[in-house]
């Protein structure tokens, strides 16, 4: 309930923030704080310095201009309330409805969620399914990290210790796009025992031109069900071939077993929720 002591700084520019991370070993970024502060209160984490990026204005912006750019400090609530985002990328608001609770959504940020990379987070699978990218700024400048390369291991991302995730970009979608997120919630924590996010693109003839299926909660990090994706590519979606692809979504996934769910049950839930997500995504392709 009582964190250890630490130094606290609230820079007003990204450069300042980066510099602080660079010169203070083990300093951590504080965004919404709803992953970090609980860890600090139970003393599972005791960073000597917190760099609060909540006072940096550029990090709050949301812009829809062809593609989508969401600043690191945009809260779940802000993203869910954005009419433009609901129009262009409805899976975001859809998924956010299932994240945490109202108060968590008022403070928690997408940037924080991705940088923290909890194995049972929802946003990690969503962005992975959207094929987005992470903008990271460090002492040597800014770079883009493709989301496929971003998640390295449990709670580990491709960010350097002195880099800050500044924005999440989602490419503009062409043609008919459908998306859906299906989640099996842990009754206590509310996290995903399993979550499957699917984004499909249909071509002019209604066949699946592209399909990304991302799974969270099942393993140490969000994973793509590439075998299933390949089975659906080029197909005219039907109940049967969706079911067949869904059957393969758990194949090749790294799966966890704990008191929440066994490996076997998780694999089963992946398949069930993948089928539901793909069906809904296809139905929603405008």
């Amino acid at each position: 309930m009582y964190p250890n002591d630490f130094e606290y700084v609230a820079p007003t520019t990204i450069e300042e923030a980066v510099q602080l991370l660079h010169t203070n070993e083990d300093a951590k970024v504080l965004a919404g704080g709803h992953s970090l502060l609980p860890l600090m209160k139970t003393r599972l984490a005791s960073p000597p310095m917190l760099v609060d990026i909540g006072h940096i204005p550029e990090l709050r912006q949301i812009s829809v201009n062809g593609g989508i750019s969401i600043g690191a400090m945009a809260t779940y609530h802000e993203v869910a309330q954005s009419a433009e985002l609901k129009q262009r990328c409805p899976i975001l608001a859809d998924a956010i409805h299932h994240i945490g609770d109202a108060q968590v959504r008022n403070r928690g940020t997408l940037g924080g969620a991705l940088a923290h990379a909890d194995p049972a987070a929802d946003m990690t699978a969503i962005i992975l399914a959207l094929g987005g990218a992470i903008t990271a700024q460090g002492p040597n400048g800014t770079r883009e990290i493709a989301i496929d390369d971003f998640f390295v291991d449990m709670l580990q991302t491709g960010l350097e210790p002195d880099e800050i995730l500044t924005a999440i970009t989602i490419p503009a979608s062409t043609g008919r796009t459908g998306m859906a997120y299906e989640k099996f919630k842990h009754p206590a924590s509310g996290y995903a025992i399993v979550g499957v996010a699917t984004v499909v693109h249909l071509d002019g003839a209604g066949a699946i031109s592209d399909c990304r299926i991302a799974v969270t909660g099942a393993g140490p990090k969000p994973q793509r069900a590439t075998l299933a994706e390949n089975m659906l590519a080029g197909q005219q979606p039907s109940k049967e071939n969706i079911a067949a692809a869904a059957e393969q979504t758990s194949a090749g996934l790294e799966l966890l077993s704990d008191i929440s769910a066994s490996e076997e049950f998780r694999a089963h839930l992946v398949r069930v929720h993948a089928r539901r997500a793909i069906e809904r995504a296809v139905a929603s392709a405008g």
């Binding site: 309930m1 704080g33 709803h34 502060l37 139970t42 459908g178």
Partner: protein, 202 residues
Amino acid sequence: MEVSVTVNGKAHHHDVPPRLLLVHYLREQLNLTGTHVGCDTSQCGACVVQMNGQTVKSCTVLAVQAAGAEIMTIEGLATNGEYHAMQQGFWEMHGLQCGFCTPGMIMSAVGLLKENAHPSDTEIRHALEGNLCRCTGYENIIKAVQHAASHGTAATNGDAMRQETKPETPETAAEIEHPQRDDGAPEKPETVEEWKGENAGV
């Protein structure tokens, strides 16, 4: 660290250690003990207050993060000795028993009505996911929020409680998981079309 905050309309200025949680600042420094601590994992909601117009869990905010903010706690809800509609609703509908979760519950419910003035029971239950109650089984809390939404600050003296309510008799899980509104539209849009329909003109 020097921190200035406005709490219930009053300005405060204190030197606080960075690790001081906002809930402890409110309770210990400002003696506003109406906000409670009920867990250590940011789940129970007993600590909910309003910060810059939004409900937040004050146990998961550092006092230093609240620098410059406007905060309202349960003690600031009533105005000029008149209960807020939500307080009245909780009283009318027996929405509390031991009362420990109540300040946070009321603050969260107030936040809900700000965004959704006439929520359905399902919407209320979802909005209060971050507020745990062990005494009431939530039944009368839902009724209390409905009372606030429909009766405002009026004291109905049990009349509202005694009115016949249409009993909910769900027959399938789908009715509960994907409830329909009275006009037949799903409460929670599931497709782009539904979103577009709902947000036509946005």
